[in-house]
Symmetry: C2
């Protein structure tokens, strides 16, 4: 009994309950106390002691490991700082907290010689943090990219399969529990941004300023964009990416057209995928469920068992997991990135419009790779899709401004992967 | 200097050279000696000391970790046993040795309290051993399956893309260095069998008898099989699988028709993929380069760095990686498995043949799911493809015997995933 690893759980929602159920199979681990927001809420799990004061958990001398699955920055930040100062190891699924205050937490954890594990904070059940920190440790990474949010990927997949609008799809997703009542965190790309910040942090061993990450969500993607992309051989996905361009780190989140020949285009519904590119490994990709009670519990419990394996046996538990880097990344401004673009244009009439587009692009050093004209509408307007070759974001924005001045309506501008 | 982790390398071929080159970036690791077969062979790497006696490595008191990338059972087995008894940690890429003698090595390693790491022994650069042992440790696995051999996957992909025969493809693969002069180990499925034995071992925590694994290679796959499969919506892949059927472990290696809707069907050329299914995680899949100098070096170096991180700091280095299970798996006989089947049949004439096939299947409790008759040949024979519903291997073998008795030629019988 005395040798059991003692867990204090902060949060007993979906993930917390999954953790309790999963840990039943591991008698060497004991959840001694859980903190909840509402003591009276019915739950389908039992914990020895329940409190509505999470500080009881982080200050409890009996507890060895604090497992935080409540989310949000406050009071989680204060709670985890207190826990670390009380020499407790941390397991957290809190992507927002890590993205915003990871650096302070990792420094504090090093000072107090405790581990912070957070496999569940990125890509749910997919093992990605531990592989980067252990098996792939010998690599110098060039790029990490993928689909990190199940809600938006579900919506985009359903829009494509059913040919319906974003709004209709969101409503359906909310009814099915795939999207929250306030979907902002998912559909505007915040959740994905927090996750890529953490991935970039450990992939490039530099600190990422989350406020400098270019972020666009999926709310502007129309059923028509998805249809046109399909005709051109692409799917539209919300992509997170971070790449090292000669020491500058380009980190961003936005929808992209992904070629159907790229396996990422086949990652559908609530699945997530993370692709890593580095030397010497080349390219590896991990796919699986990016969220949900049990997949997330799998990662949380994996972290707890990793601590348990070394607890009391090593002067430093899981040294490979520690973040010792302190250098801030120089992050690339989106205007300085180079991309190929999809431009959806509505022009007052087809006559001469392709010439105008060609001139605006040419004057901004942009080469057009393909043009798709979708006939003329009843009102005389023409629908035109342009795919450019790789050019700078600054140049494409200038060309777009130019086109707008000439009464050409830009329906959407989407980068191509 | 004195704090460097000291490596002794056995084998300085492709992988060994990749390891030396990769370790250049890690000054905390020092390769003190390498054992080679031929001292006079030109190599593009330098090692402080080279010997042609590998026992010099395993008996060298200066060496902390023995890295074995020479392959084969002899003398590797004796070498590693000696190294373990000399309290050296082991990193090996030797899939055959682990499959045949892993149990003895793991027991010995536990006795002498050293770690044996072997990320490179399965799926090259893809992190799979460490994720199963750490991040996914909380799971009870139901199944592990995938494509574990790059050579055969390359051949099958090229047969499909070029519509050419196995023999032509093998020759090309040999010329390009994708296949060895004696390709038996790859094309007959031995390499894949060794790898699935190790995966099954750690996934189900039971010892696998490699001699009881049903194994078929790809030498009987014809260009026609690939073409017919394609018409029916499948690709043909050499699949390794291990699944837990109520405590019995069904482990096997054979070609399978994989539906084009299954992402495994899209893993082409030298890529490998490993799919894991368990609770609570659900399904996760890992893809990447399954072989080659640098991908394999990535895994070997990851293991070396994992030992380095804990070396001298823990009473037990990397306790999560240890194999403590001693129970032998009860392995399912192939005749007791259930599968859906592709049967390619040449019949003396089309008339009445489908009736004969239907009767043979019906009498053996086999339901036919689809039949594809490919016209009548010049010689009057008819080519017929049958896909069955799931039935027992015993029943299908009986039906095949029955058909053969009636002068019906069975060109191939391939299981369907």
């Amino acid at each position: 009994m005395e040798n059991k690893l003692k867990i204090g759980l902060i949060g007993l929602g979906t993930v917390g309950c999954g953790v309790v159920k999963t840990l039943c199979a591991f008698p060497q681990i004991e959840i001694v106390k859980a903190a909840v927001r509402n003591l009276n809420k019915k739950r389908d799990v039992e914990v020895r002691c329940i409190t509505d004061d999470p500080f009881e958990i982080v200050n409890d001398p009996e507890i060895d490991v604090v497992v935080e699955v409540a989310g949000g920055v406050n009071p989680a930040f204060d709670l985890l700082k207190t826990a670390i100062k009380n020499k407790k190891h941390i397991v957290t699924a809190n992507k927002e907290l890590l993205a915003k205050h990871g650096a302070e937490l990792f420094d504090l954890a090093n000072e107090y010689n405790v581990a912070i594990l957070y496999e569940a904070a990125v890509a749910g059940g997919i093992p990605i943090i531990m592989p980067i920190k252990t098996t792939l440790k010998g690599n110098k990474f060039k790029k990490v990219a993928g689909i990190l949010n199940g809600t938006t990927n579900y919506i985009l997949t359903q829009m494509e399969e059913k040919g319906i609008s974003y709004q209709e799809c969101l409503k359906e997703a909310q009814e099915l529990g795939y999207a929250e009542a306030d979907p902002t965190g998912d559909v505007e790309g915040f959740d994905t941004m927090y996750k890529i910040a953490t991935l970039a942090n450990i992939t490039f061993n530099k600190r990422i300023d989350v406020t400098k990450i270019h972020r666009e969500g999926i709310t502007n993607i129309s059923a028509q964009d998805i249809k046109f992309a399909d005709e051109l051989g692409y799917k539209i996905k919300l992509i997170a990416l971070a790449q090292d361009n000669d020491g500058q780190i380009d980190v961003r989140v936005h929808p992209m057209l992904v070629s159907k020949s790229n396996v990422i285009s086949g990652i559908n519904n609530a699945l997530n995928a993370v692709m890593l590119e580095g030397f010497p490994v080349g390219q590896v990709m991990f796919t699986g469920p990016g969220a949900g009670e049990f997949p997330t519990a799998s990662s949380v419990v994996g972290d707890i068992l990793a601590i348990d394996a070394e607890f009391g046996k090593c002067e430093t538990i899981l040294p490979m997991t520690r973040c010792h880097h302190r250098e801030m990344a120089v992050q690339t401004d989106i205007l300085d990135t180079k991309n190929s673009y999809y431009i959806s244009i509505t022009a007052p009439n087809a006559m001469g419009v392709i010439g105008v587009i060609g001139t605006a692009c040419g004057e901004n050093k942009i080469n057009i790779s393909s043009v798709l004209q979708k006939g003329t509408q009843k009102d005389g307007t023409a629908q035109i899709i342009v795919i450019t070759e790789e050019c700078s974001e600054r140049d494409i924005q200038n060309a777009i401004e130019e086109l707008k001045k000439q009464s050409i309506k830009i329906n959407n501008l989407i980068r191509v992967m």
